[in-house]
């Protein structure tokens, strides 16, 4: 309890009036939703959702107590006979309105519905959110005097409204005019949900296209297609060619392909090919990985073919030949250039890295599979036959490896299925931005 109060207090500091009032009103959830008391406390607080951005969710699924049904759960269980789709979800919401003329317990119902949305696959549907907001009775919660505005009018309902908006936000759903109209009808202009709405309107439009390398919303299910997408994502150069070195032997297995014939997809640019052709065969090159790459809520693993940085004495200095350009001088014969005080750069210590020659994604992360990749690469890079290749493989930590090579024991492929589940919640939010 004291922990919960501490959170509320912290929230109060940042929210000023609202926070203090919220703290004063913590009793409210207890009375309305006794079953939910311990959980409802964090849930009902406005700050709780923003906390969940920082604190990783507990492994226990946030679906409510498994034994006792939440109020109005039966509305959804009725629909269970059918499929879990938008139509059934909408029917459940409409049923609530029909069975419950006085809309008793609508706040709990909305919270429940919000939790159910993912199951029904409607978490990105603006119309459904608007429908949910429509559950609120109209005009009742509108403050009628300045004092009501000051001391949050119907805080629990307002928090619930904010929760709806917040879920929209975390799924990247932009509210529309209808949302605004509903909020106006329910809470009035000077209310916290309205404030949230205005902020969403402001920031969503600014952040919508902020990612210069957008990932499509619906990722391909086929691992080969997914690998292609991931590789293209890492190597946006349009000159790069994606090569499928090996198709998975059995098409039907989606997640992890047959271990004997996993897929191998690689990408290489012409520049990388040229660099590999010029590589000194006396220096070994390394296959490293697996490194992880997150595409929305999916994690894929890739390997790179790279070399160490050349020591400074071996680097070739590019010099301008004397008779090069027929039309104008390529360099001026002057003994001064930009001088030291002409350097406006910050003093950054830059670590140069060795060249990367190719990237691949494979269904398995063992040496045998990757050797096939190298074999495939040799067809387009004949120089590779002369260069010793060292495999440095490790677990799926995603960190750069030390000098120890993992020649002896290829690490087991990362448990993709499980991890995906867990990371779903964590990544879904980061994938939004």
């Amino acid at each position: 309890m004291s922990w919960a109060q501490a959170i509320l207090l912290a929230r109060g500091l940042s929210w000023g009036w609202g926070g203090i009032c919220g703290a004063a009103l913590t009793g409210a959830p207890f009375s309305q939703a006794p079953l939910w008391a311990p959980r409802g406390l964090h849930r009902s607080a406005i700050a709780c959702n923003s906390d969940s951005w920082l604190v990783p969710p507990s492994p226990e699924p946030p679906k409510g107590p498994p034994k006792a049904l939440a109020p109005h759960e039966e509305l959804f269980t009725q629909a269970l006979g059918g499929t879990r789709d938008k139509a059934n979800f909408v029917r459940a919401v409409q049923n609530f309105g029909q069975h419950n003329v006085y809309k008793r317990g609508h706040v709990d119902f909305i919270y429940l519905a919000l939790r159910k949305m993912r199951e029904y696959g409607v978490e990105r549907d603006l119309a459904v959110y608007n429908l949910l907001l429509d559950v609120f009775p109209k005009e009742v919660f509108r403050p009628r005097s300045i004092f009501q505005t000051m001391f949050i009018h119907y805080p629990r309902q307002q928090e619930c409204g904010i929760a709806v908006l917040e879920q929209m936000e975390s799924h990247g759903v932009m509210p529309n005019k209808e949302t605004e109209f509903l909020l106006l009808q329910i809470f009035g202009r000077k209310s916290y949900p309205m404030l949230k709405f205005i902020r969403m309107k402001l920031w969503f439009s600014r952040f919508k296209n902020i990612n210069p390398f957008p990932v499509p919303r619906d990722l391909p299910q086929d691992p080969v297609d997914l690998a292609k997408l991931g590789l293209r994502h890492m190597e946006p150069n349009l000159n790069a060619t994606v090569t499928i070195y090996q198709m998975p032997s059995s098409k039907d297995s989606t997640g992890a392909a047959d271990p004997t014939e996993p897929h191998i997809v690689g990408i290489q640019t012409p520049d990388q090919q040229a660099a590999l052709a010029h590589h000194n065969p006396a220096r070994p090159i390394f296959v490293e990985g697996p490194f992880s790459l997150w595409l929305r809520d999916k994690c894929v693993y890739y390997h790179i073919l790279r070399a160490d940085l050349l020591p400074p004495e071996e680097r070739e200095v590019e010099e301008i030949p004397e008779e090069w350009n027929l039309y104008y001088p390529m360099q001026l014969d002057l003994d001064y250039g930009r001088s030291g005080w002409d350097d406006y750069e910050f003093d950054i210590h830059e670590v140069e890295e060795g060249p990367v020659f190719a990237i691949c994604m494979a269904g398995a992360h063992d040496q045998a599979t990757l050797a096939k990749w190298i074999q495939g690469l040799q067809e387009t890079n004949p120089a590779l036959a002369q260069i010793p290749v060292v495999f440095r493989l490790a677990g799926s930590t995603g960190e750069l490896l030390g000098s120890s090579s993992g020649l002896e024991d290829p690490p087991p492929p990362p448990p993709e299925g499980q991890e995906e589940e867990e990371d779903n919640q964590q990544r879904q939010q980061q994938g939004q931005s």
Binding site: P321, E323, W324, N325, L326, Y327, Y328, P329, M330, Q331, L332, D333, L334, D335, Y336, G337, R338, S339, D342, Y344
Partner: protein, 599 residues
């Protein structure tokens, strides 16, 4: 009608005022005066080399008479016999036209008289260029033949080579072509793939490789070919260097592809030329073995100035035709020529033509001066200005003509297509801008070296000097470089413009200094800055040419000289802004980060 006639008269009036100074070629060679300082390079130091450009080059009465002898029949031939429409449609210059051109001596205009050419001075060559420019295909064919094709033999050939090749080339019996461009090599000489290897008896070079986009490639008998050869350096190392070779078609192994289908200048013959084990006698090396790079550069640099008059001739004809249209076409009971927006277009065309004509003849006059003046920057400026002016003016003319400008039945769209190539060949304008700016900056940089080094080291006197100079610049803006005044070089009626020019030149000099101080040799990388420097220099040169020519016209009392006076301020007006702009910006960069693409 008034406007059209006015422009026509002006165009005609311009003719007697162009003023060739023709020294016989042989006489010129005897002079041993030191090469004069080029005008453009001095501009980079903020100085005007008055002797070079004032007064406007004059031509003696004899030369004038001589030229007029050529001009009359040539003009008649071009207006009456050359069917440009047919040349364009068939993609070929008819043989009888070519024969007539040869009879007129047009294939050897600049070949010295002793080798059977006309031995024309640059000014006279420019004058004839005005007429030849009436047909783009013929102009390009002739230019490829003599401005670059056989120019190598004149510039770098020895006596035997000249005696062997020039007479037949001058008569047009043989046609020359210039083979430099390759699929992988445009302006990048290092990537030339054509190779000439010395045969075992050391008497021949075996030439292998192919060249693309060779004008006259299909009809030429003599090629100037640039190929890589192995050259032993002074320190014993073997290097690949470029060598220029004279290759005859009869040497064997020379084949050419089919003529390319082009956007404009469709009558000129452009095709691929392949050399397969062609045996070239060792006597046919142009210049030194391994010295081909310099030969190529010299040929390219010397061939450019003529484009100015070529374009001016074409534009004058175009203005004539457009004016005739604008003065007859009636809309709302008014002639087109009475509308302000149409008049503005004519003003632009007249101004551009006047400027490029002045620049072309000024440059030609400089080139004709005794000694071997290095006018390659000036020539490049003429090329850039005239090619862009041509594109702009033709486009404006089409605008005046409306729909008929767009129709194939009229000659205008052909002029548009023909003029597009001007911005591309003989060095693209972008590359020439780099050349203009960098060559000048190199000159200025060498001279300013000590001063800049002192500044960089923080020498107190120099710093104070510089600071006080800048202070003075910002307080008072009267610059006097001696163009105006009692003994000034320009006529008092254009004194205003001259003052502006002086101011511009002065601030341009300061800008160059600031830029050099700021970037030093790394300015090579700052192409956006270089472009602006080149633009300003081109404008300054144009202004100077116009002032010089207008002053002369007034003093000599040419007809319509008042129009010339009117033309000079607008020439200057817009340009001034640009110089000041860069000047301010270059001063700002002094305090701020190096510029992005903006400056």
């Amino acid at each position: 009608m008034g406007v059209g006639v006015l422009f026509l008269r002006r165009a005609l009036a311009a003719r007697p005022s162009r003023a060739p100074v023709a020294f016989a070629t042989s006489r010129r060679l005897l002079r041993t005066s030191p090469p004069s300082r080029a005008f453009a390079k001095q501009l980079f130091l903020g100085k005007i080399e008055k002797k070079e450009v004032f007064p406007f080059p004059e031509v003696s009465q004899d030369e004038l008479n001589e030229i007029n002898q050529f001009v009359g029949p040539l003009e008649k031939f071009f207006t009456e016999e050359v069917d440009s429409e047919r040349i364009d449609r068939e993609g070929k210059i008819p043989n009888e036209t070519l024969e007539k051109l040869k009879n007129l001596g047009l294939f050897g205009m600049q070949v010295p008289e002793e080798y059977g050419g006309l031995g024309l001075s640059n000014t006279m060559y420019a004058r004839l260029g005005e007429i030849i420019g009436l047909d783009g295909s013929i102009a390009v064919t002739l230019a490829a033949h003599q401005a670059i094709g056989l120019k190598g033999i004149i510039l770098a050939g020895n006596k035997e080579q000249k005696a062997k090749y020039l007479p037949r080339l001058a008569s047009g019996e043989h046609i020359a072509a210039f083979c430099l461009t390759e699929p992988t090599s445009g302006s990048d000489a290092a990537s030339i793939k054509t190779r000439a290897t010395l045969s075992e008896d050391k008497k021949h070079y075996i030439l292998n490789g192919s060249k693309i986009w060779i004008t006259n490639g299909g009809i030429a008998n003599v090629f100037t070919v640039f190929a890589k050869t192995q050259v032993v350096d002074s320190d014993g190392s073997v290097k690949d260097k470029i060598t220029a070779l004279i290759v005859e078609r009869d040497f064997g192994g020379v084949t050419n592809g089919k003529p390319e289908d082009k956007l404009g200048i469709r009558g000129s013959n452009t095709c691929e030329v392949h050399f397969e084990n062609t045996k070239v006698p060792i006597e046919n090396v142009l210049g030194e073995v391994g010295g081909g790079f310099k030969v190529a550069m010299n040929i390219l640099n010397s061939g450019r100035f003529s484009m100015g008059s070529l374009v001016a001739g074409m534009l004058k004809k175009l203005i004539e035709m457009t004016a005739a249209y604008a003065c007859t076409r009636k809309q709302f009971n008014k002639n087109l020529s009475e509308f302000g927006l149409i008049q503005e277009k004519f003003a632009l065309m007249a101004q551009k033509t006047y400027v490029m004509e002045s620049m072309a003849y000024l440059t030609a006059g400089m080139l004709d001066q005794p000694g071997f003046p290095d006018c390659s920057i000036e020539a490049a400026m003429v090329k850039v200005f005239s090619s862009e002016g041509a594109w702009q003016c033709v486009s404006e003319a089409l605008q005046v003509l409306g729909g008929s400008g767009y129709m194939r039945d009229y000659p205008y769209e052909r002029l548009l297509r023909d003029s597009r190539i001007l911005l591309i060949f003989e060095g693209t304008n972008e590359i020439l801008r780099m050349y203009i700016a960098l060559t000048g900056l190199q000159h200025a940089g060498r001279i300013l070296t000590t001063r800049i080094n002192e500044l960089k080291r923080g020498n107190v006197t120099t710093v104070i000097e510089t600071v006080s100079q800048r202070l003075r610049d910002s307080l008072s803006r009267t610059v006097d470089l001696g163009l105006t005044g009692k003994l000034g070089a320009v006529h008092p009626s254009v004194a205003d413009s001259a003052n502006k020019l002086e101011e511009n030149v002065y601030y341009f000099g300061r800008t160059v200094e600031t830029l050099l101080l700021r970037f030093g040799k790394t300015i090579v990388e700052e192409q956006m800055v270089l472009k602006r420097v080149a633009n300003i220099l081109i404008n300054l040169y144009g202004m100077t040419a116009v002032l010089s020519r207008a002053s002369r016209s007034i003093r000599v009392g040419l007809r319509n000289h008042d129009h010339e006076v009117l033309l000079s301020p607008p020439t200057l007006g817009g340009r001034r802004q640009e110089t000041e702009d860069l000047y301010c910006k270059s001063r700002k960069t002094w305090e701020k980060r190096p510029p992005g693409p903006d400056i």
